[in-house]
């Protein structure tokens, strides 16, 4: 299983039946393929759907029905379409239970940076800032290090923040890590890795309870 497949498979377990979930662009979008066909969940796509689902069968694809990543999706029974003001009212009023989102950097205070790399990448904010600031539970899906091997889980974000103190949990291919008042606490290891090796690829301080063992 590739690193990203492992992240996606673990992330799918985060989704609680009966909840409303927004899946951000990138790794989070792919989590939907892992969900059981009849699962009782409503996927919110901020372009204006509550009840978006997996890609529609080819003969049922509708060019006027996409999710926020641009996929031609099916909708679940009980879904609704609405304009963008209503869609973001839903977000700002805290009606989305869980948002999974990607990150350039995340830090031990739960700060998230995922929208801009000054001088390199600034395609706009999209819906990230409102989702990050207003969803009660934010789970970050990210590879543990960037493509050059630099840690992405930092003591303090260096890039412009999307939102401060918003992250509840971080899922990487190595571990599941919670942001707590005491700092970052490792809850699960997703591969055989020693505590020392995990700390070595993480800039932030990690609390690793003795009970945590590699799977």
């Amino acid at each position: 299983m590739s690193a990203t497949d492992r992240i996606i498979a673990r992330a799918a377990q985060e989704i609680v039946p009966g909840s409303i979930v927004n899946l951000g662009i990138g790794l989070p979008t792919q989590v939907i393929h892992e969900l059981p066909e009849r699962m009782d969940v409503l996927i919110h796509a901020e372009n204006g759907v509550l009840g978006a689902w997996k890609q529609a069968e080819p003969e049922l694809m509708d060019p006027f029905l996409i999710d926020s990543a641009g996929a031609y999706v099916a909708t679940r029974p009980g879904s609704a379409f609405f304009d963008s003001a209503v869609s973001f009212a839903m977000i700002r009023r805290g009606k989305i239970d869980l948002t999974m989102i990607g990150a350039f950097e995340v830090d031990q205070h739960g700060n998230l940076a995922n929208w801009k790399i000054p001088g390199k990448f600034s395609p706009g904010i999209g819906g990230a800032m409102e989702l990050a600031q207003k969803t009660p539970r934010i789970v970050v899906l990210t590879t543990h290090c960037d493509k050059k091997g630099n840690p992405k889980i930092l003591k303090q974000c260096r890039l412009p923040l999307t939102a401060a103190g918003c992250v509840s949990r971080i899922i990487t291919e190595k571990a599941v890590i919670d942001v707590t008042d005491d700092g970052l606490v490792v809850r699960e290891k997703l591969e055989a890795i020693s505590d020392e090796a995990l700390r070595a690829i993480t800039e932030a301080d990690l609390i690793i309870p003795a009970s945590v063992e590699a799977v």
Binding site: A45, E46, N47, G48, V49, Q55, P58, M61, D62, P63, F64, L65, I66, D67, S68, G70, A71, Y72, F81, F82, D83, S84, A85, S87, F88, A89, I91, R92, P123, G124, I125, G126, G127, A128, M129, E130, Q133, K134, P160, L161, T162, A163, A164
Partner: protein
């Protein structure tokens, strides 16, 4: 009350230097035919207000690539490398807003109000100190309403009065923009006589629409984009 015009007449009302809201989140809701007529007529120094810049070679990207646009107000242009390069080289001025704030600024103008108080991104670099306000012990960010001279809208169904119904996620910013622009040009491939559309199903009431263009058919631009299909 019949608002039907030819596409040439309708787009011909737009002068150089106009501000124009354009519906659509990606392709759904984008009025490709009205945009192509604006490209043909060649109005310049435009300010466009759209969620995104479509993708290179289609929709408003054609107008931007053709040098007709000075300024774009948007939320995200990540799918359009051509426009990102024009922004980076200084050929195009781009102003970004968080997506829901962008929607709400337009909705506010459409409701005849002038601004609203928000707490989104107050501590971030998108906020300048002069945008913050303290009122009864709380701090807020002042967000001003966003209006435009024109809006270009695609509707799935319409009647001659200009009542509009949108399809699927093509609704996105369209009903908001239709309220926030002084003149609203809507296109549709299905225009009915008054009385055929169910009144309770109307998304945009006719009072907001000034011109209606009947399209003979929807071009390929409105169809499935193969590169967005996962195999």
């Amino acid at each position: 009350m019949n608002k039907q015009q030819t596409i040439e007449e309708a787009i011909g009302q737009i002068p150089d230097g106009a501000s124009i809201m354009v519906g659509g989140f990606g392709s759904p809701g984008t009025p490709f035919s009205l945009i192509d007529e604006l490209l043909r007529q060649g109005q310049r120094n435009l300010t466009l207000i759209k969620n995104d810049a479509n993708e290179a070679g289609i929709g408003i990207s054609k107008l931007i690539e053709n040098g007709q646009v000075d300024r774009l107000i948007a939320t995200h242009i990540g799918l359009n490398r051509s426009v990102i390069e024009m922004m980076n080289s200084g050929a195009l001025e781009v102003e970004f807003h968080p997506q829901g704030i962008f929607a709400e600024k337009i909705r506010t103008a459409g409701a005849g109000s002038f601004g609203f108080l928000s707490d989104i991104g107050m501590e971030s670099e998108i906020t300048r100190p002069e945008q913050l306000l303290e009122w009864q012990g709380q701090r807020y960010k002042v967000e001003m309403a966003l209006r435009a001279d024109f809006a270009l809208i695609h509707a799935a169904h319409a009647d001659n009065y200009g009542n509009l119904i949108y399809r699927g996620t093509a609704i996105n910013f369209s009903p908001l923009m239709a309220m926030a622009a002084d003149q609203v040009i809507a296109e549709t491939a299905d225009c009915q006589p008054p009385g055929r559309l169910e009144p309770a199903m109307i998304h945009t009431p006719s009072a907001f629409v000034s011109s209606l263009v009947l399209l003979p058919a929807l071009t390929n631009d409105y169809g499935i984009m193969e590169h967005h299909v996962r195999h």
